[in-house]
Structure formats: structure tokens, C-alpha cells
């Protein structure tokens, strides 16, 4: 491919990842066109983008998942390239193809590479051919409920049902008995249909004390796939990651090397270009290839922190046909980085989503702290989309210091207007099993299956609260001041 400078990129996404892409573009002198839904005008990305184009109503199927609307928006905005972020259409080969057909550069792997690796069934077939270890399962085309239940029995319980086209925990359920299998498979199929537009699912043996370890790989314009090392994401609730770190505290240098080589091998054999992640399960010293995510990951910042790269910039450079990494100068991870996903949810009610208008939001700066957020004071968190409102990332020399720092940073952070999982995150970070680094994907289920104990206010907190309540109660005098400073009056006085 001939190097071609991109001058305007359309962003087919929302929230913090849209902001992340805009920031990389700003740095590279590239203009942005945010393709947004009707309800996403009050977001940080909307305020930051060079141009904004509304592509449809709030439901994702009519906006963020609508291929034609995104293509039309990108063309109307005069963009040369489209960045899909993560989630939504980021792993949709038809979207990548539609971009190409419309003369737009899709910032990501080719439709062919996405079809090979992004489709979990095809990916497993390739892994098998390459002799890479896989978890036993069923990836057949027969999607009849009866047949799926039969296959689940063959694999043996517990097993797991997953959306063939997806990620992020949607359309994913653990089946523990034959009795509950039918209902759960159907539920997974509905979630898969709603989140990814395809109800296809597959089954897999459920490893009960495995760690989730993944490798960031990057195929740059030179054609080589580079190993950017591992992340551990074992802290998951309902298969949704909550805390991620780089690099994993559990791998020996030999295993790390073997897994990294396996990751690069499968990507290279698919002709992979761009940022990608090869996910593994790791149990008792053995690793099993799980799937490949053919996109940028939510947790990409922890890799950026320890390896010293800018993955979004690297994606754009690759789309422009420029090589990014130098094989003669191998990357070596340094220190430790942790990311916490901040969800708008009530930790005292078992994590039910918390929606509403954001009040004051504060992310205090400090050495080794990084915040990725998509919403600011006055923005509304709705129930239409993912509840993740921000990511908090820290870096320090060692894992224990990074954990200490993260706890401090979470305590310093302020979000008013909606509940967040901050108290829950602090509990997890303080748990001995997390501190030891031995946690498995069942960590949350084992130690945090119950909602957090409702906060009991200390005497001092109560005193403060009462004082605050007194001050914030509108007095007659205050009401008068408000009417006197009405913009209509002061405006005319000013003339």
C-alpha cells in the first residue's frame, strides 16, 4: 500500500473511546467527524470533534450498529477513513467491506482477516490447523436448541455458551446443569442477536480456576506482527472485565514467550494488520487459545503504559501505510499498570445500572495517573448504552505500588449524580487474593457475589452531611438573589 496521509477521520463510536480517538487525531493534525445517535449530543466527544453528524435514534440497531447510516455519515462528513473504536461495528467484516466499497479506509484489519480471526468458529479452525491448544467445545452450524443441549451434555457441565460474533460478556452464560441449559442458551442467543446482529452461539468446556490472560499484538504496515506483551483480566463479573493489568503477575518468562509466539503466529498466518488481541485461558501452567479480538481493546491503555506505545496513533499510521515498530529495537515492558473500569451502577444494590444527569466530576491529576472519560458535568447517562462511564489507569514501578496508587486515585476521584462502582473496586483491590495476584476468572463469583454492605456514615460524615444540607437548602434570601441575577435582567443592565 502506498503511504497516504489521512486528513479527516470519522468515528463510528461514542463515549470515552471516541474521545481517545479524537485525542490521537488532534495530536496528528487530523480532523474528526463524530457519528453519533440522537441522544449523544451531551457527551465530551460531541464537544471535542471537529464535526458531528447524527446518524439515527438512540437504539443501537438504528444508529451505532447501522452500517449504511455510518457509511453515509462518514461520506457526508468528508472523511477519508473510519475508526470503529471497540464494540458496535468494530469487529464487523461487512462494515469493513462496506467502508472499502464506499472508498473509505477502515482503520482495522482487512475484512478477510476479520472473517478468519474475528469469527470464533473460523478462528478455532485455524488455531487447530496451526497446532495451537484449544478448549474443548462445539462450534457447529447446527443452532437448534435441542442439538446445542445435546452438545453441552457431550462436552460435560459446567460448560459455557458464547456469541460467535461477539465479546464483552454479552451473549455469554455458564451452563451448570442440563435443566437450566435450554433457558440460558436461548437467553444467550437473544443477547447475541441484540448486541451483534447474529444469534449464532457456540459451546465450550468451562475451566473453573482459569486465569484470563491476553496478548496485545500489532501488525504494522511492514507486514510483520509484533508482540506487545500480555495483560491479565481475570477480574470479571458476568464475563465483563472490571480490572485489567499489564503485565500478568502469573506467567513465567518461558510461558510468556510461548504464548506471545502463539499469538503472533495465528495473527501472521491470517495476514493480520492493525491492533489485535489474542485471548487465552491459563490454568495449571497450561494455556488454551480462547479467541482473537480484531480491534482495539477497552484495556489497551495498560499495554501503552508498560510498553510505551500509542496504539491508536499506531492504528492510524498503519492505515496510512506507514510502519510503526522497529524489530531491531525490541519492546520490553517496564513497571506495572492497572486499569479500573468505572461503571454507572449501584454497588449496594448488586450493581444495577444507575442512570441520570452527572453532577460534579473530578479526576485529580498526579504522577502515573491517567483518566479516559467520555462524560462531564451536565451530561446524561442513559440506559441505552454500556454503563461504563470512564476508565482510571495507573502506572508504578511494581504491582503492589500500582495497587496502592489505584486505591488512592479512586478515593480522590469524584462522580456526583449517578452511583459508581468505586467502592466495589476499592474492596476488590484490597482483597488478599487480588493482592497476591492469584485470582482466577471466578474471583468475583467467589468473593463478591453479594452486594456491598450499605455504607454506614461515620459521626463526622453525618455532621458534615447535616451542615451541607443546611447550606444547600434554598433560603428566601437566596431565592431573591437568584431572581436578581436572572440573565434577562443583568443582560439589559450591562448595555
Amino acid at each position: 500500500m502506498k503511504p497516504q496521509k489521512i486528513t479527516r477521520i470519522a468515528i463510528a463510536n461514542r463515549g470515552e473511546v471516541a474521545v481517545r480517538i479524537i485525542k490521537a487525531c488532534e495530536e496528528m493534525g487530523i480532523e474528526t467527524v463524530l457519528l453519533h445517535s440522537e441522544v449523544d449530543m451531551g457527551t465530551r466527544a460531541y464537544r471535542m470533534a471537529t464535526k458531528t453528524i447524527c446518524i439515527g435514534p438512540a437504539p443501537t440497531s438504528e444508529s451505532y450498529l447501522n452500517i449504511q447510516a455510518n457509511i453515509d455519515g462518514a461520506l457526508a462528513g468528508g472523511a477519508q477513513a473510519v475508526h470503529p473504536g471497540f464494540g458496535f461495528l468494530s469487529e464487523n467484516a461487512d462494515f469493513a467491506q462496506a467502508c472499502m466499497d464506499a472508498g473509505l479506509i477502515f482503520i482495522g484489519p482487512s475484512p478477510k482477516a476479520t472473517r478468519t480471526l474475528g469469527d470464533k468458529v473460523n478462528c478455532k479452525a485455524l488455531a487447530q490447523k496451526l497446532g495451537l491448544p484449544l478448549v474443548p467445545g462445539y462450534q457447529g452450524a447446527n443452532q437448534e436448541l435441542k442439538h446445542l443441549i445435546h452438545e453441552a451434555e457431550r462436552i460435560g457441565f459446567p460448560c459455557i455458551v458464547k456469541a460467535a460474533a461477539g465479546g464483552g460478556g454479552r451473549g455469554m452464560k455458564v451452563l451448570r446443569t442440563k435443566e437450566e441449559a435450554g433457558e440460558l442458551i436461548e437467553s444467550a442467543q437473544r443477547e447475541a442477536q441484540s448486541a451483534f446482529g447474529s444469534a449464532q452461539v457456540f459451546l465450550e468446556k468451562y475451566l473453573d480456576r482459569a486465569k484470563h490472560i491476553e496478548f496485545q499484538i500489532f501488525g504494522d504496515a511492514s507486514g510483520k506482527v509484533h508482540n506487545l506483551f500480555d495483560r491479565e483480566c481475570s477480574v470479571q463479573r458476568r464475563h465483563q472485565k472490571i480490572i485489567e493489568e499489564a503485565i500478568s503477575p502469573s506467567l513465567t518468562p518461558e510461558t510468556r514467550k510461548k504464548m506471545g509466539e502463539a499469538a503472533c503466529l495465528i495473527a501472521e498466518s491470517a495476514g493480520y494488520q492493525g491492533a489485535g488481541t489474542v485471548e487465552f485461558l491459563y490454568q495449571d501452567g497450561e494455556f488454551y487459545l480462547l479467541e482473537v479480538n480484531t480491534r482495539l481493546q477497552v484495556e489497551h491503555p495498560v499495554t501503552e503504559m508498560v510498553v510505551g506505545v500509542d496504539l491508536v496513533k499506531a492504528q492510524i499510521l498503519t492505515a496510512q501505510g506507514e510502519p510503526v515498530f522497529n524489530s531491531k529495537n525490541p519492546m520490553i515492558p517496564r513497571g506495572h499498570s492497572i486499569e479500573c473500569r468505572l461503571y454507572a451502577e449501584n454497588p449496594y444494590l448488586g450493581g444495577v445500572p444507575s442512570t441520570g444527569v452527572l453532577g460534579k466530576v473530578e479526576w485529580p491529576e498526579g504522577p502515573g495517573r491517567r483518566y479516559e472519560y467520555g462524560f462531564e458535568e451536565g451530561d446524561e447517562i442513559t440506559s441505552f448504552y454500556d454503563p461504563m462511564i470512564a476508565k482510571v489507569i495507573v502506572w508504578d514501578e511494581t504491582r503492589p505500588r500500582a495497587i496502592q496508587k489505584m486505591i488512592r486515585v479512586l478515593k480522590d476521584s469524584v462522580v456526583f449524580g449517578v452511583h459508581t462502582n468505586i467502592p466495589y473496586l476499592i474492596e476488590i483491590l484490597s482483597h488478599p487474593e487480588f493482592v497476591s495476584g492469584e485470582m482466577t476468572t471466578r474471583f468475583i463469583e467467589k468473593h463478591f457475589s453479594e452486594p456491598l454492605q450499605v455504607q454506614v456514615l461515620t459521626e463526622q460524615e453525618k455532621q458534615i452531611a447535616e451542615e451541607v444540607a443546611k447550606q444547600l437548602a434554598p433560603t428566601a434570601a437566596e431565592n431573591r438573589i437568584i431572581s436578581e441575577t436572572s440573565p434577562f435582567q443583568t443582560f439589559w443592565r450591562g448595555i
Binding site: 454479552r170 445500572p353 444527569v357 460534579k360 448504552y385 454500556d386 478515593k411 459508581t420 460524615e461
Partner: protein, 128 residues
């Protein structure tokens, strides 16, 4: 917005704000809400129309599956309604044994927080 309060002559830095009528406070690494005890009695909690055993929407979202009909009996832990919010499915189960008196929602309906989705008549002691 408040950035400090004075208690017993001592000035303490806090962050506090009223958002949509609700007071939020951040102090010493914790965020909490303040509820006025005197107002609590008349708060929405007690005016909830749900009875013991009823299934309420735990969040705003869409009803994606109704597994039981009026007249069906349910046992503790049995799934009655499936909701979708923020792209995740939540299965709402019965708290105890009983009989569905009425389903309070339609398939595909967007429901608000706290809506009674199913009225359940709890089974009385000694009943068959």
C-alpha cells in the same frame, strides 16, 4: 456547590452538590448521598405500590421475555421476567413460592425503575 464546611469552629474541606434535588458529598475518599431523615418518611420508598413477593423493575430497561402468565404458580428462584438494560440481560426471579396474580408489563415495553412487573400472591403457610 460547596467546597468547605465549618463544624465547631473548624473548617473542613469537602465537595458537595445538589444534583436533581439529591445531595451528593465527597469527603475523605468517600462519596455518599445525604437523605434528610424528616423527609424520608414521605419518600418514594414507602409509597411503592409493590407488595411483598412482587417483582419490580430493578432498573429502567426493556422487557424481553415474559416467562409466566397470570394464574401460573411459581416457586422460589424461578425466572418470571427477562429484562435488558445497557445491553445486558437480567433475569428477574420470584422471591418465594406463590401464584402470579397479574403481569404488569408487555413484551418489548420500556419500563421505568420500580415498576411492578408481576404481582405475585405469596403462598400461605399450610397451603398445598
Amino acid at each position: 456547590m460547596i467546597t468547605q464546611v465549618t463544624i465547631n469552629g473548624k473548617t473542613i474541606p469537602v465537595l458537595a452538590q445538589k444534583v436533581k434535588g439529591q445531595i451528593w458529598i465527597h469527603f475523605n475518599g468517600r462519596t455518599f448521598q445525604y437523605e434528610d431523615e424528616s423527609k424520608k418518611k414521605f419518600g418514594s420508598q414507602s409509597s411503592q405500590t409493590g407488595h411483598a413477593g412482587d417483582i419490580l423493575a430493578p432498573m429502567p430497561g426493556k422487557v424481553t421475555k415474559i416467562l409466566k402468565q397470570a394464574g401460573d404458580s411459581v416457586s422460589k428462584g424461578e425466572a418470571v421476567i427477562v429484562m435488558e438494560a445497557m445491553k445486558m440481560e437480567y433475569t428477574l426471579k420470584s422471591d418465594g413460592d406463590g401464584v402470579i396474580q397479574k403481569i404488569g408489563c408487555k413484551l418489548g415495553e420500556q419500563v421505568s425503575l420500580g415498576k411492578v412487573l408481576a404481582h405475585i400472591d405469596p403462598k400461605k403457610e399450610g397451603q398445598a
